[in-house]
Amino acid sequence: MESANPWLSWSYVQDNSAALVSAGIEHLWITVASMALGIVMAVPLTLLARRHAPWAPSLLSGSGILYTIPSLALISALWPLFGLTNLTVIVALALYALLILLRGALLGLDEVPADVVDAARGMGMSDREIMVSVEFPLALPTILSGLRVATVSTVGLVTVGALVGHGGFGTLILGGLNENFYHAKIFTATIACVALALILDFALRALERGLTPWAKVAV
């Protein structure tokens, strides 16, 4: 007889709380590390694009094309280099996050009114001072909403890391598929993953409001 295979099972959660917690920790760690690496790469590229303004549109449409590489393929391609470490997943996701971050930063900086920059220059501020104390704060709402969108989509993409054994909740989802369609395992891990994304979304919204009280938080 085939046993019952419910989608929701509290006993699954109880019996596997340790596995769920360790998947959650891995999921969060990969997300945070990918975002950190993405930010580290985005800053110099943003400055480069600002310095060489004519390059900016090409940089943006070019990075849009990078976004069309399937996550599955990027992870597979990085596998020979980083092997069975979570770096394979982190580097891939950092590249996707980079694209969203770059777009947000360039859009935000473009929206800074030219008058304000002129005024700052008239006051004798250097390029660096203008960037740090005028352009960056004014662009911050757009930059932060880019960060939020990138974070939420990274949480979802981490699941694909299951392909190389580092997918956080994704490893449970793929494992459930391979364990003769273990519904409770698949569904619990999915809900946990969505919850993690929504919690981070909420936290980053709160951060946006805290850092830029003058701006209306965009969706």
């Binding site: 069309t68 599955l72 020979p80 999915t190």
Partner: protein
Amino acid sequence: MIGQLFAWFTDPANWTGPNGIPTRLAQHLVMSGLAMVIAIVIAVPLGMWLGHSGRKPGLVLNLGSIGRAVPTFAVLVILASWDPVGVGDLAAILALALFAIPPILVSAYDGIRAADPDVVDAARGMGFTGRQILRQVEVPLSVTYLASGIRTSTVQVVATASLAALVGGGGLGRYVVDGFATQDAVLVIAGALLTAGLAVVTDLVLGRAQVLATLPALRVRKSSQALGIGFGLVAVFALMVAPSALASMRGSSSGASVDGPIVIAAYSFGESKVMAQLYAQALQAQGIDTQVRELSSREVVEPALEAGDVGLVPEYLGTVTEFLNKKVNGTSAAAVASGDVEATSQELSKLAGPLGITVFTPSPAADQNAFAVTLAFAKEHGFKTVSDLSVYSHQNPLLLGGPPECPTRPFCQPGLVSVYGMKLSSFVPLDAGGPLTKQSLAQGKTDVGLVFSSDGGLGVQGLVVLDDDKHLQTADNLVPLISSSIATPQVRKILNAVSAALTTDLLVSLNKQVDIDRKDPAVVARAFLVAHGLI
């Protein structure tokens, strides 16, 4: 690498048949197209209506952000494991449609909301009804927004449709998944380039359509994007090719680290997970730290074992012996594995030793690869053996289902053809004796499938194993393969004790507990080790 890619793209064999580029491309387009049609039919009217009525703005915006938070991969797996949908293209089409609905809904809503309130007021003042305002004023004005939303979503759907291959679907993702399973970097990169190329072409075509759909007064001349596209394509190419090139320069490392935990690989099916847990917990009980990682195929695990990324893996004696034999001595090397466990084990040690891999004593427990059909099909034609099926296949070529690496494995497709003379119409890449293969058989999507003889769930799904009367399958006893750098006498003693305690009957019962009763492999393994005094 670039030469190999060029050779792949110019090989006529890759342009014909069920796994040829035209077929895979068509599948990819059909899946993406149907998903977009479903998404547009649902999301556009709903979004426009919500926008026109001005109701529930919070709902729409939240739907947009919740939609982003739900991983498409998870939705795909849920749909594939839900009986009314099942594995294959349908699951992918529905998952992609669900993926595309929120952004299209939001853009339809935004489009209507963006229609200038003054214009709407003017229309109302002219005596337009609500319906007329929607159709003649708001909709044309909102098309700009909508067209851009649909364009972005379509490009994302085309890129994401690759995931379908993970649940037995077709499309260009097949090349990536099959290439990864067989560690064929050329295939992975070719698949990625085709998908990215298709997405770029889709974007350009829709970009053109978007200009046409925009009211002439609202059209914006964009600067030439050619430079950006060229830059992007070069970057895609570099990103895909560089890692394997760099990795081949780096050379292989020297076995697993002796300091860290022993990384135990488990293949993605219940039995392998239980075996990995048996090893892990028996070692842990003696104070040796371990870590279990689930991986997809032997082609992925074996190089990782050589490189030391994986320290230990539960293997199948005959299968892994032939795998290494073909790898070391070439694909046309004569078979060295046989039904003799002792002799095969010695051959395996000879092959594995120089690769830095040590072979411990095989367990009496065995799990052969086997070919299964549905009970109904077997009864109807009186099939008892694979030879019976082979005779039938001469008039009625059969559809074979199995793991993506099956077409290159001697015990799988090549063996059926050369040893049994079976006629196969085609091969459907699914999984290694897992739920995809079994469900596909049970639903009649394939005729014959590769399964495991110790599978506790075949009977439940109405499947029956045919007798391997020409002995295509070799002695597949479970045997631990371990990186030589960590193969200490203590580890050897612990693992040999586990192997000795296990029999085929016990193995079948462990499998049943995991696959049918859905117990956690770790829990099942612990109970076994305790019952046999191993921990």
